[in-house]
């Protein structure tokens, strides 16, 4: 867990008081909507189709049990009994009244949660690996550096008025679980030839209207130089970024227009001037931040205790879940458990207040009071003793968060789409719901293997459709919902954008087409363990195209 200091608490409390006053002045008419809108956006408040929406940051996806209980309370007291976990490790509430927004934020502040940096042209909530601090393939806890960046960006007003929103993700493991290559800045910690740790700096990734996979502008940046280098990147962006055109304002456009090499050279020059100044990170500062991340008092245990083996052998459902949803932990005898928020027929990423309360209790009992939010819109219990898995599973199963479909075809990422979002062309959630019904058979889902479907209701790409193994993008044609389908995208360390399969298909046909695509893959793969994404890479999209457009 991370423990905030007094500075943070004071800052959050001040912001709540300030916003309370702004809301009062807006409601009484002293502020116009035009004056108020930027103020509400600074506090994560959007206006959607039929209500206000509040987006709350979960920095690097780490939550405590009391915090999750607070979210449950907010869902119950101020919303309609549920919340929506997003791909950027935030949670959104869809029905909170503006009049009650200050109370809601005050309740959040009591447990150290807030909605700052969740909207507007600032550095957004910095995301990280949801397995940070527990993954076996990790070098160091990446959240330490996410936190250093968070503190730096919160305190520097110049970064609150960037040309456009700015998203940063940090990982420190071989496998990229935070989609760093589709962020404005992605940081990947690794070791250089001399065994020192530092960051690969990837810049200019992003989705939306003009998608790009980020480019590596610095293969190895010493940890000490993290802040000064990021500062240099932001200065170059601030200087050249296109404030005149909202569609060209993201850093990805600048990197594309200048070229990665030229961009890197500009950054390098800017950096030389500030590199050894006040921003150089000294070890004491890093150690201080690191000391505020506390780790559980793990017991000395061994892997695969007999009780676990017995449970696996005697209960097939448990065993299926274990193989799908439980990952190795860096401490022997412990496990990382993913809770699927993708049960059949449900909106992806939604959790009810009751579920949140129960998960908070379970975390306290079995995971040292800690919960993580991952970018695939699932939750994680990061420190579960393997001997407790059978007991934990029984409760997770009972509350509907143990569907063993993590990473499989029904573990769909979808944006809110037209059911909530005022920018949408089409719905996303019902498409996801229908697909989870089509692929309800777990046996066939396990046979299909790893396959990510991502759905966005418009070109803004909140559902990451470009980097879905199968991407689905809603477009409007003559007032009707149509969907473009892409294949072959991926968001991990081999990030790639998908290729268009062909003409958009109407709402009613989407699920059929996806079923066809999956059936074609089953026929085309050379071995049962050739993943969908690898088959697409090998054969290209033509065979899929033929199959789909021949039948539809």
């Amino acid at each position: 867990m991370y423990h905030y200091d007094d500075f943070d608490r004071t800052l959050v409390a001040e912001r709540v008081a300030e916003f309370r006053d702004q809301v009062a002045r807006r409601l009484s008419g002293q502020l116009t909507e035009e004056e108020f809108k930027p103020l509400r956006l600074m506090n994560g408040v959007y206006l959607q189709l039929h209500a206000y929406m509040l987006r709350i940051a979960v920095p690097y996806g780490t939550l405590s049990s009391p915090q999750l209980r607070t979210l449950a309370h907010i869902a119950r007291r101020y919303d309609r009994g549920y919340g929506h976990f997003t791909t950027r490790q935030n949670i959104q509430f869809n029905w909170i009244k503006l009049e009650e927004m200050p109370e809601t934020l005050a309740a959040l502040a009591e447990t150290g949660l807030h909605a700052m940096q969740t909207s507007g042209n600032c550095i957004r909530n910095i995301t990280s690996d949801q397995w940070a601090g527990v993954a076996r393939d990790e070098i160091e806890d990446p959240r330490i550096y996410a936190e250093i960046l968070r503190q730096h960006s919160t305190m520097h007003p110049e970064f609150s008025f960037l040309p456009r929103k700015f998203k940063i993700a940090v990982t420190a493991a071989d496998h990229d679980r935070a989609a760093i290559r589709v962020h404005d800045i992605g940081l990947r910690m690794h070791r250089n030839g001399a065994g020192e740790t530092g960051f690969e700096v990837v810049v200019g990734g992003g989705l939306g209207r003009t998608p790009f996979v980020g480019k590596t502008i610095k293969p190895f940046l010493h940890k000490r130089d993290l802040l000064s280098y990021i500062e240099a990147v932001l200065r170059v962006y601030n200087q050249y970024g296109r404030r005149d055109n909202i569609y060209k304002a993201r850093i990805k456009i600048l990197v594309h227009e200048l070229g990665a090499e030229k961009f890197a050279a500009e950054v390098e020059e800017e950096w030389r001037a500030i590199k050894d100044g006040a921003l150089a990170l000294d070890e004491a500062v890093v150690a201080d931040i690191a000391s505020r991340f506390t780790y559980p008092d793990y017991e000395t245990l061994t892997d695969e205790p007999a009780s676990l083996q017995t449970a696996r052998a005697s209960d097939r459902r448990f065993d299926t879940w274990f193989r799908n949803s439980v990952a190795p932990h860096k401490v022997p005898g412990y496990a990382i458990v993913t809770l699927s928020l993708k049960p059949e027929g449900a909106p992806p990423g939604d959790a009810t207040a009751d579920q949140m309360d129960r998960i908070a209790d379970l975390a306290e009992r079995y995971s040292f009071g800690e919960i993580r939010v991952g970018h695939e819109q699932n939750l994680v219990l990061p420190h579960v003793a393997q001997r407790d898995l059978p007991a934990l599973w029984t409760v997770l199963d009972a509350i509907g968060v143990a569907t063993p479909n993590v990473g499989l075809v029904s573990d769909i990422i979808a944006c809110p789409g037209l059911d909530y979002c005022s920018l949408a062309n089409t719905r996303s959630i019902p498409v996801a719901q229908e697909l989870t019904r089509r692929f309800r058979s777990l046996e066939s889902a396990h046979n299909i293997g790893r396959l990510h479907i991502n759905i966005s209701g418009c070109i803004n790409a909140c559902g990451h459709h470009h980097v879905g193994h199968i991407g689905i993008l809603g477009v409007e044609k003559n007032g009707q919902e149509f969907y473009q389908i892409t294949l072959g995208g991926r968001a991990d360390e081999h990030a790639e954008l998908g290729s268009l399969l062909g003409p958009a298909v109407p709402y009613e046909q989407v699920a059929d087409v996806i079923e066809d695509v999956v059936a074609a893959y089953i026929e085309l793969r050379v071995r049962p363990d050739e993943l969908f994404i690898d088959t697409v890479k090998r054969v290209g999209i033509e065979p899929f195209k033929e199959r789909v457009y021949a039948t539809h």
Partner: protein, 105 residues
């Protein structure tokens, strides 16, 4: 399904002025007497672009009751007013699936 900011005032059929109530964001419609109602049936319907423009500028003159006002298509059937497209249907009826949980108030 067209987002409001993309709409030009070209009107093909009956329209109303709609927005969100300031205090809670609820969907509201501009009525004959210049007030706002949560009932679509209370809305003033027009088929004339000039009238719609005039209503919209009246609606925008004050932003204390409602915000984000725009012109939305409707269908008038047997004296009752119905939303004219999917977006407006969702604004009237809410999301097109059951909301999670049984605790809805």
């Amino acid at each position: 399904m067209t987002a409001p900011q993309q709409q030009k005032l070209k009107i093909k059929g009956p329209v109303v002025i709609t927005g969100n109530r300031l205090g809670d964001g609820a969907v509201v419609y501009l009525t004959m007497d210049g007030g706002w109602s949560t009932q679509l049936n209370d809305a003033e319907v027009t088929t004339l672009a000039d009238r719609a423009t005039q209503l919209l500028s009246e609606a925008n003159a004050s932003d204390i009751d409602a915000v984000s006002a725009y012109v939305a298509p409707v269908i008038v059937e047997a004296g009752s007013i119905k939303p004219g497209n999917l977006r407006e249907r969702i604004r009237v009826a809410g999301p097109t699936f059951a909301l999670p949980g049984s605790e809805a108030r």
